[in-house]
Symmetry: C2
């Protein structure tokens, strides 16, 4: 997969060189390095923290402000009970095998995959076939390769079986994996030991609230549950009107058994999740759908995937919803908004597709799901899940707590129903049934219309009836006409109560940032050692590089004036006064993705003009301090492009690069 991955300029993507840049420019590193680092935990240094901040600010503007979503911030610490009810205690788990002699814990699917792949590789070696490079953790691969102990040719049937297992590994249950491990004598590659059968391990971090030990809690694995539990507050805030959406930018946690793939699989991660609450009987229409109906999206449907095709098709979202390829307008509208967001932050749209989940792939709560996948050197990566969670979560929490999580629709045309009702005389029922009086009343109310009709007749005939009340002794009570009156009444129905459905676009911010960095990375044609991160002016963590021609005190007041002007506009900048050549200073700051450079030279002192350099083209224009800062400000806001500026301001030629 990854060997096909190219930079935006069509160059081979060298992940080693890319990662070296990220390390050198302190974009990120494994946390707690002086203590030997912890897998699956990363710190972001200034460039990546800045990039994240800009991307989040666009997310807020694009979704929360523009769509008038209700922004929420909910607790990460979550009582045990909440995830018991949501299903996460049972289902948010991976299978693992323990090596009983070394105590090592191995993810069962990784273990099987590694060992079988290694045997297949060995088989290929023995057959003299070409071996494709894979992009996994080299250490782990080495262990697996070592375990293969030289090239061993497999029986054709065995080889086919291994290949089949690898293709469908995601679908195996724990028991099935246990059988596979036995049947194929799969052992811990590192030790050669047999492993214990797979057991399910929950992936939530557990802790305790307070000191009593009575309040077990988890760190949430998604921000969604807090939003569901806030539903009644939000409904109040929207004056009872649906549809509305809540949105939350917050951290979630997943106690990965053996984290891999850098930023793509981590234990602590930022999500931006939207919960759009909608009346299921509304057809999930969206008021703004018409405005996006013509937008074409790269869609890879379930059907296409089943037929083995992996290339998405460009389909107008209006047509996709019409043909039921995409289930409803709201889902379709969000796919378009996700696409526009990705465009706005600078994602390469040729490396984006929407893939529909296969039936067996969907989460336990989902009724339909499309992933926005971004292509990076690890392959197609799920970066946004866009699921229809139906009424699952609101229903289970409401049932478990007895608290209503429902909306009410006022009917435009109220109607009258005629119903049998049973009215208990409380004054008499109290003394008679004492503590059971309430239960008797409830039992009466809950009788079906059929039964009530029958009892109405019976009462009029016999003057007494028997009613089942499960909580009293004997399971039923006898009621005479003094105690209860049965009658037929008219009732005006003017509202309908329902549990809203939820459509949930859920963004993995870390994965988006990682993909964005890969999409932005390329090297100068004339020198592969000179790499560039071409972040758009809007997302670049630092906007401007100030470069005095050389160390000279005469430049100081000019630099100060430029700084003051940039500060006044809240534009971030960096001054590079080091002694190396201008070209070198630009090229090492291209690696930070700084889009613009201002050179201060001796002419600047004389005529007050400066050179403005564009990172991507390395072209330059020359103008006054005021004009240059204005152009930068307009390009950051997206009001002008570099091409526009080039048309306005005179070009400047130099032998710089």
């Amino acid at each position: 997969m990854s060997s096909d991955y190219k930079t935006q300029k069509g160059q081979e993507f060298d992940r080693g060189a890319f990662e070296s840049l990220l390390r050198r420019k302190v974009f990120l590193w494994q946390s707690f390095e002086p203590y030997g680092s912890v897998k699956g935990l990363f710190d972001y240094g200034p460039p990546l923290e800045g990039l994240e901040s800009e991307v989040l600010s666009i997310w807020r503007d694009h979704f929360i402000r523009a769509e008038k979503m209700m922004a929420l911030k909910c607790s990460m610490l979550t009582p045990y009970e909440v995830f018991k009810v949501s299903g996460h205690v049972e289902r948010f788990a991976d299978f693992m095998c323990k090596d009983p002699k070394t105590g090592e814990i191995l993810r069962s699917d990784h273990l099987i995959g590694d060992v079988l792949e290694s045997r297949l590789k060995s088989d290929k070696e023995a057959r003299g076939e070409k071996i494709e490079e894979t992009e996994e953790d080299p250490k782990r691969k080495k262990k697996a390769a070592k375990a293969a102990k030289g090239a061993v040719k497999l029986d054709d049937k065995v080889r086919a079986e291994y290949e089949h297992i690898l293709a469908v590994l995601d679908d195996f249950t724990g028991d099935a994996m246990g059988e596979l491990i036995k049947k194929h004598d799969i052992r811990n590659p590192a030790s050669g030991n047999e492993v214990e059968p797979p057991v399910s391990v929950n992936l939530m971090f557990q802790t305790q609230i307070g000191a009593t030990g009575n309040n077990p809690a988890f760190l949430r694995p998604e921000t969604a549950q807090g939003q569901f539990l806030s539903f009644q507050k939000l409904l109040e805030f929207s004056d009872g009107q649906l549809p509305f959406a809540s949105a939350s930018i917050g951290y979630s946690f997943r106690n990965e058994l053996s984290p891999r793939s850098g930023l793509l699989r981590v234990r602590e991660f930022l999500m931006a999740e939207i919960e759009h609450f909608v009346d299921p009987e509304s057809g999930k229409k969206h008021p703004k759908f018409a405005s996006v109906a013509n937008v074409e999206l790269p869609l890879l449907s379930r059907q296409t995937q089943t037929s083995g095709v992996t290339k998405p098709e460009m389909v107008a979202i209006g047509k996709a919803v019409e043909s039921k390829l995409v289930d409803n307008e709201t889902l379709g509208y969000f796919l378009v908004r996700i696409y526009e967001f990705m465009k706005r932050i600078g994602i390469d749209l040729n490396k984006l597709r929407f893939r529909q989940h296969l039936e067996n792939e969907m989460a336990h709560y989902a009724s339909d799901c499309w992933d926005c996948e971004l292509l990076n050197s690890y392959g197609w990566t799920e970066c946004v899940g866009c699921a229809d969670r139906s009424a699952y979560d609101l229903s289970v929490h409401s049932k478990a707590t007895g608290q209503p999580l429902v909306a009410k629709e006022m009917l435009k045309e109220p109607y009258t129903v005629e119903e049998y009702v049973a009215v208990l005389d409380r004054k008499k029922a109290g003394p008679r049934f004492k503590k059971d009086a309430k239960a008797v009343e409830t039992a009466l109310e809950e009788l079906s219309q059929d039964i009530k009709e029958k009892l109405t007749l019976e009462m009029s005939e016999k003057g007494k009836v028997e009613v089942p009340v499960s909580s009293v002794e004997g399971g039923k009570v006898e009621l005479d006409k003094d105690l209860v009156t049965f009658e037929k009444q008219k009732r005006l129905v003017n509202s309908r109560e329902y549990t809203p459905n939820v459509i949930e676009p859920s963004f993995g911010i870390g994965r988006i940032l990682y993909s964005l960095m890969e999409h932005s990375y390329w090297t100068r044609a004339d020198d592969v050692a000179r790499s560039v991160l071409s972040f758009t002016p809007r997302v670049a963590p630092i906007k401007v590089l100030l470069v005095p021609l050389q160390r000279d005190t005469r430049f100081a007041p000019l630099i100060s004036a430029l700084e003051a002007r940039l500060d006044a506009k809240s534009i971030s900048y960096k001054v590079d006064q080091s002694g190396v050549s201008i070209g070198k200073r630009y090229s090492r700051n291209d690696e930070l993705g700084i889009p613009f450079g201002i050179t201060v030279d001796f002419e600047s002192i004389e005529d007050g003009t400066y050179t403005l350099r564009d990172r991507d083209s390395t072209k330059q224009v020359r103008s006054t301090e005021e004009e240059i800062v204005r152009a930068i400000s307009r390009m950051i806001k997206g009001k002008e492009s570099w091409a526009d500026v080039q048309k306005r301001l005179p070009a400047f030629e130099t032998k710089e690069e």
Copy 2:
């Protein structure tokens, strides 16, 4: 305390009414309400989430961008070892007492305080003295009051003793509190049971990383440690130059035993922490100090407090540093920047003071500390701590891990030293000492100059010497002149290695937001039921309210046009089309702190003009769509005030309010 607390208009502050507003307008609520809520955990609804986002955006601009700080994001999950070394495992703790019969856990200092206060209250009742209202959890107070069982008069001496204990309660050790509890027969007020002696309970949330059980971890109680452990990366990013500052906005956790006081004491909270690394031998000068030296700050010194005064004095920071009241320029510079930040977000500067920590109050790592305290209805509340943590953290981590966390200063004037050196012949030492060879070499290197001089003489006389090596058998080795050479060498010293000191301004965002909400709250003079949150245009979560005069389809295109214009400028707004009067609509949105309102009426249809209303004064001006949106945009950016706009645009009178 709180009975003195007034709104910005000098009105009595009614906390009940204020909290009712926060609930009604869904600013915040206790998390997981349908599951019965969890103490010390809060969710933020749209208005408070929005306010936080705006305040953080100002924080980023004010500190990270303007001061060119290195923004970092570090992991919350932290290995046990890190907090063992930092001292938190031992010292980040509270004392608690257990009620052995009910299992209840009580914070020892709260328990003593509650019981003694209740007895003093009862004593006052018995003496017929006036009782001041306190603002604590009413439920708890009720319990304590109940335990007092009617008014009981105390002996004068006992009364004085109780009062003394309450005054110095913070200073007691666990053992001392245990003695107090025995001596004064302090029991659990809820049950009347005796309690067990105080034990120290760590306040960090503990969990496990991975599934092996070998990696205990904590949720961090501060963001600082991650920043310290990233020191070498940051140093690299700054090309080895000090001073520099890192900054991190992130969550921390504190497993409070019994949380109180709403947002002021919570279990999960957002901090914004700055670590400013500086050479201790630089005198902690700050390059921008001169630019702020004349700014006057309300300072409450240690000395003033000791003399019983609580009113701060306005002192120019230049003078404060000169007189050593504030220890150094860097600390002083940050106090000014904190003050300016508070001003920028709309804090009432009459409710702000900087209080110096008393000697016994400082954290285990601090060498000097000033708190920025904000006055709210709970009293003076620490909202920013500004501590000099000296070299404590970098030193302990460096020592524990063996990784250098140091900076190097290149000397302007390198100098030469003459030193005795001992050079081991490794080729001979290897075979002779085998596995101990390295230890012998290290032992030789670490000998002091005095000893080396002595051994040089000895070797020249006897041809052999004895050197102590603790790890070898016998604790020493004999070395002859074939194995080791002693000589005097000249060495050029051109750099100085040192552990930087750290000055740490640490912001509690939740406390600042809570205080800001209280500072912004007041009620209309003509109607106390009409309350207002007067957030500045810059921090207000929603900027504009659009109000059509009445429900009428003719207003729809005008509203749409206004919406489009506001969207184009990314200005947030809300449309209130409900059927109630304009005055009512404005007044209920004043409670959300929306600073501006645009009224669309029949004249708007005719002449394209609209009314612009200012929330605080309820004054109005009238102009075109373009002019009004432009004025709003300029007021949000702080380029114009309402007074400026009133001068430019014609006033509009109405009977609205």
